[in-house]
Symmetry: C2
Subunit: 571 residues, 2 copies
C-alpha cells in the first residue's frame, strides 16, 4: 500500500468530546470518524487493526474447537419472551417493528438466538460438546455513550457459546476458552489480567474478565505481586486480618455527644479508626433492612453484601425510620441490642477485634471495650467477608500484598449453566436416554474495545505505539523527499523487498515535507519506520527507528532486511 | 476439520416454504437456518462459503484500488433528509428511534453515509480518485421475503463507492470496477454475463448487472451468440428490422366490425400480425396520455416508453376517457388523425412497414395500405426503439441472432454522477481552485445472493456442485468404515498429507454407514471426494470421485496427491 493512495486523514486537533486518549488518537490518526453518539465509521487504517484483531480471535477460537457461524442482527421478540428478557431488558435494548408490526430487537447479545438454533438439532450427548461463535455487530443503546469505542452503541463483538452435557463438560469448555483468551491477548502483545469477576445479573457460576491494564480503565483490579491472583475490586476475596491478641476489658457504655461519624468519634475518644466498628445501613429492592459492619478504616463492598441476602438484586441506603424500627439509631449503630430478625452482617475482620468501639443504638452513646466474639449474639449475626479490597491487603491465595490497578474489560468468560436451556427447552438425551438441559457457557470479546484498550495502554505524547500483531502496518518506508526520483525509486525498491519478505508494509511516498510524514508515522504508530533519504541513495545507509523505544539504527542495504525482521520479532 | 466435530445437521426433507433449489439445498445441507421471514443464520459450512466469497471480493476490490472501511448499520435520519430520501424511501426502509427519540434507519444502502464521510475531508482534486468499500449487513424490509438468500431482509453486501473529479474519472473508475467484477465472478467459477441494465430510480448514467445464469433467475437477459453483447430484456436495444420493399398502395379505410384485438383483426382481414400496427395507451404519473405503436407481432417495452417522456416515473394503462379526449377510439387506435399535442410514440420498425393495417380512431374501422413514412405526420410522432426484445432478434452490435436466458442479478455497477454530492454539498477544489461536486459511482455485490446463485447454477438431483473456489471444503476424505482403526488411521494419514499440500480438506471420520456419508458428500457438494476403504488399506488403492462429472478414478497412494491437485485445477 502507498500512503499517497491511502485514505487516512490525520488531524492536529482533537475534538472536544474525545475525553480519553484512545478516542483522541484514533480520531487524529484518521482511524475512526463519528456518525452519531456511540456510532463510528472505521476508516482504512482503523479497519486494518480491527481485522487483525478479528483474525487472531478467529484463529484461537478455531484452535480451541470453536466453529464460526453468523446469526442475524434482528432478533424476534418471541425468543426473548421465552427467556423472560424481553420485558426485563431495559432501554438499552433497541427495539423495532417490521412492516407487519412484528417486534424485533437489534441483538445486544445472542443467548436466545443460539439456544433456539441448537434446540431443535442437538438431540444427543454424542453431538456434545459444541462451541459456536460469531464476530458481529451488537447494539446497546447506552444512556450516555462516550469514550469512543470504549462505550459505544453499535460495536463489534466476538461471542462464543458452549454447550455441554454436564457441569464438568461446561467447566472444561470454560477452561478451553480461558486458555484461548489468554493466548489471544498475549498474541496481541497486551498486558492484561484474567480477573475473577462478579457475573452479576447474567448468570451464575464462574466468570473472569480479561482486563487490559490501563489508567483510563473503568475497572479497579486487585492483583497479587507474587502469585497470579487477580480480581475486580468488587469480587476480590479477603481473609480476616490477623490482629494481635489483647486483654479483653469489660464492655462499657459511654456518652459520645454529636459523634455520628467515625472521624468525630475517633477524635472524641482518642482512638484510631481501626479500633472502631463502622455501620452501613441498606434496604434491599424488597425493602428488607440490612446492617453491615466493617472495621472503621475499611469500606463495605456492596456486592458482597447483596450476595449474603438471598433474593436481593439491589441495595439502597436505608431510611431512618427503617433503622429505628429495627431498634437502631442512625449515626450510633451497633450490632448489640438490635431487634431479632434484622439482617446483621459483620465482616470477618471485625470478629478478630479487641476492645473496639461501636454504636450503642441510642443517640450520643457508644459502647467501648467491645469484644465481638464475647459480646455479639452469634446466633443473630452473619459473619462474612464484606469489605472492599485496598492496596496492601493480603492476597487470599498466597498472603503477599495486593496491588491495585485500573484496567479495561476487553473480554469476559461466563458459565451460564442451564439458565437458557431450561427456559427455552433446549434438551438432549444423555447416555441413559434421559432428557437433560444443555449446560452452557458464553464468552465475549469486544473487538473495538480491545483496539481502544490497546491504545490506552500503548501511547505517548506523539501518538499510538502499536504492538506489532495488531498494527495497521508493521513497517512504514518513508521516502524523505518523494519529489526526488532517486529517493522515491530507492524507497520503492526497499518497499518491494520488505513486501516480498512477507512484511505488512506501507510506503509513504507522499510529496509532503519530511517533518509532516514523520509526525504522521509517530501519530499512527507503525512499530518500525524505515527512512530513505540521501544517505541511503548515496551510501546505502538506511535509518531504522523503533517507535516504542525511540531507538534509531543505521543499517547497510545488505543487512537492513534481516535486521528489521529481527527487530519486528521483539515488538 | 473433522466431520465428527463439524456442526452440519443435514436433512432428508425440505421445508415447504423453500420454493427454489438453492434454498432447499442450503437448508438440507445444513448451511442455513431460518430465524424469521428473510432472516437466516449461517451455520459453519454456509459461513465458510460466505467467507470465501467475501475474500475473493476483497482481494479484487483491493487490487482495483479500493480501500476497505466499515460504516455503522444505524444511520441518522438527518443524512437522508439531506438527500431527500428519508421521505422518498418507502416501507422497505426499517426505521428505529433511539432512547432519545432520535430517528435512525437500518442501512438499506450507504450513499448518504459515504458522502457525509468524505465531504468534510476530501478537499482537493489531489485526493482523487478515491474508492472506499465495505462488506456488511444491509436491511430491506421486503413485503414478501422469499427464496431464501435470494430475497432476504437482512443480507450481506459489498458496496464500493467511487469519487472522481470529473466524468472521465468516474468512467475510468466504472471500468475498473467492471473489470474487477468480471474477475470476481470468473474466479468464483460461475457462468455469468455483465448485462446492460436500466438503472431506474437510483441515478443516471451507465449501469451493468452482473448476472449469474440460472433458470430460477428473476432477470430476463438477451445475449448475443456471436459477440459479448448482453442486456436485460428491459434495456436490450433493438435496431429497426429490415423489411423488404413493396409497392405502396393507396391508404384505404375499411370497416372491421368487432376487431378490437390483433388476433380478430388478422382473422377478419386475412393478414398476418406482422402486417398490422398495434397500439398501447398509457397514462403517466402526471396523467399525460402516451400512445405507443409497435408492429402487431411485437411487444411494447414500457421502460423504453417511460424514457421517451421527460419527467415520467411511472405508467399505467390509460382510461378510455383520456383516449377519447385525444381523438382516439379504444380498440381501434392508430397514429393517423389524433389531436395535436398527444404523445405519439412509434417504434422504428413500424416506420419500415409497407401497406400495413392500423386503427382508424373510430369504432369498427381500420386503415389499410398504411405506409408510415408516407402517411404519418412526422412532426407529431416520435420515432424510437420501443419494443421488447425476443429470442432471435438481431444483436444491436453485430446483427447475429440474440438468445434469451434467465439469470440472477448478483452484482450491479452504477454511475451516480453528482446526485448525492450536490444534494449534500460534497465538493472539492479542482486544478483551477474552483469548487466542484464529487463525481460518484456505486458498485454492489450481494454476497448471500451470489452464494444462492452459485447453487442455482450448479446442482443436480443429489445436491450442490460447488465450484472449487467457493466450496466449503475443496476435498473430503471419507473413511468408509471409521469404526475400523486401520481405515481411520489410513484416512487420517491421507487427510494430513492433503492438508500439508495446502488443500482445504475435511475428514469424514463419522461412525456412520458409508451410504449416509456418501449421500451427505453429494448433498453438501464438495468438489472432490477421496474414499479410503479396505482397498486403500490392503492395496494402497485410493478412489477419487469428482462431484461435477461423477467420474471415479483409482490412484495408487504414491500418485493420488498430485492427481487430486491436477483434478482440482479443473474444477
Amino acid at each position: 500500500m502507498r500512503a499517497s493512495n491511502l485514505y487516512a486523514p490525520t488531524l492536529r486537533n482533537t475534538p472536544a468530546e474525545a475525553e480519553i486518549v484512545s478516542h483522541q488518537l484514533m480520531y487524529r490518526a484518521g482511524m475512526i470518524r463519528k456518525v452519531a453518539g456511540g456510532m463510528y465509521t472505521f476508516l482504512p487504517l482503523g479497519w486494518r487493526v480491527i481485522r487483525k484483531i478479528e483474525q487472531i480471535i478467529r484463529e484461537e477460537m478455531d484452535a480451541a474447537g470453536g466453529q464460526e457461524v453468523c446469526m442475524p442482527i434482528l432478533q424476534p421478540s418471541e425468543l426473548w419472551e421465552e427467556s423472560g428478557r424481553w420485558a426485563a431488558y431495559g432501554d438499552e435494548m433497541m427495539r423495532i417493528k417490521d412492516r407487519h408490526s412484528r417486534d424485533f430487537c437489534l441483538g445486544p447479545t445472542h443467548e436466545e438466538m443460539i439456544t433456539d438454533l441448537v434446540r431443535d438439532e442437538v438431540r444427543s450427548y454424542k453431538q456434545l460438546p459444541l462451541m459456536l461463535y460469531q464476530i458481529q455487530d451488537k447494539f446497546r443503546d447506552e444512556r450516555r455513550p462516550r469514550f469512543g469505542l470504549m462505550r459505544s452503541r453499535e460495536f463489534i463483538m466476538k461471542d462464543l457459546y458452549s454447550f455441554d452435557k454436564d457441569v464438568e463438560g461446561m467447566n472444561e469448555s470454560y477452561r478451553k476458552m480461558y486458555d484461548a483468551y489468554t493466548k489471544i491477548f498475549t498474541r496481541m502483545g497486551l498486558e492484561f489480567r484474567p480477573v475473577e469477576a462478579d457475573n452479576g445479573a447474567i448468570g451464575g457460576g464462574h466468570s473472569h474478565e480479561f482486563t487490559v491494564l490501563a489508567d483510563a480503565g473503568e475497572s479497579n483490579i486487585a492483583y497479587c505481586t507474587s502469585c497470579d491472583y487477580a480480581a475486580s475490586d468488587e469480587k476480590a476475596e479477603l481473609k480476616p486480618l490477623d490482629i494481635p491478641a489483647e486483654e479483653e476489658l469489660p464492655l462499657e457504655k459511654v456518652s459520645t455527644p454529636g459523634t455520628n461519624t467515625i472521624e468525630s468519634l475517633c477524635e472524641y475518644l482518642h482512638v484510631s479508626a481501626d479500633q472502631t466498628i463502622k455501620a452501613v445501613a441498606y434496604q434491599t429492592d424488597k425493602d428488607e433492612l440490612v446492617l453491615a459492619f466493617v472495621r472503621g478504616d475499611h469500606e463495605v463492598n456492596e456486592v458482597k453484601v447483596i450476595n449474603q441476602i438471598e433474593g436481593a438484586l439491589d441495595l439502597r441506603m436505608a431510611d431512618e425510620d427503617a433503622i429505628r424500627a429495627a431498634g437502631g439509631c442512625p449515626g450510633f449503630m451497633g450490632p448489640i441490642g438490635l431487634k431479632k430478625g434484622t439482617h446483621v452482617l459483620v465482616d470477618a475482620t471485625v470478629m478478630k477485634m479487641h476492645n473496639a468501639v461501636t454504636g450503642a443504638n441510642e443517640a450520643d452513646a457508644h459502647f467501648r471495650q467491645v469484644n465481638p466474639e464475647r459480646d455479639f449474639d452469634r446466633g443473630a449475626v452473619v459473619v462474612a467477608d464484606l469489605r472492599m479490597v485496598s492496596e496492601g491487603d493480603p492476597c487470599p491465595h498466597c498472603g503477599a500484598p495486593l496491588k491495585m490497578t485500573r484496567g479495561i474489560e476487553a473480554g469476559q468468560v461466563f458459565t451460564l449453566g442451564t439458565k437458557y436451556s431450561q427456559a427455552m427447552g433446549a434438551v438432549f438425551l444423555d447416555e441413559n436416554g434421559k432428557e437433560q438441559p444443555l449446560v452452557m457457557g458464553c464468552y465475549g470479546i469486544g473487538v473495538g474495545r480491545t483496539m481502544a484498550a490497546a491504545i490506552e495502554q500503548n501511547n505517548d505524547e506523539q501518538g499510538i505505539i502499536w504492538p506489532r500483531a495488531i498494527a495497521p502496518f508493521e513497517v512504514v518506508i518513508v521516502a524523505v523527499n518523494a519529489k526526488k526520483d532517486d529517493q522515491l525509486a530507492y524507497a520503492e525498491g526497499v518497499y518491494e523487498e520488505c513486501r516480498q519478505a512477507g512484511m505488512d508494509v506501507l510506503l509513504d511516498d507522499r510529496r509532503e515535507r519530511a517533518g509532516v510524514k514523520f509526525k504522521d508515522c509517530d501519530l499512527i504508530g507503525y512499530p518500525v519506520r524505515v527512512v530513505i533519504g540521501p544517505k541511503a541513495v548515496d551510501e546505502g545507509v538506511i535509518e531504522v527507528k523503533v517507535r516504542r523505544t525511540g531507538e534509531v539504527y543505521t543499517f547497510h542495504r545488505e543487512e537492513y532486511l534481516s535486521k528489521v525482521q529481527e527487530l519486528l520479532k521483539t515488538l
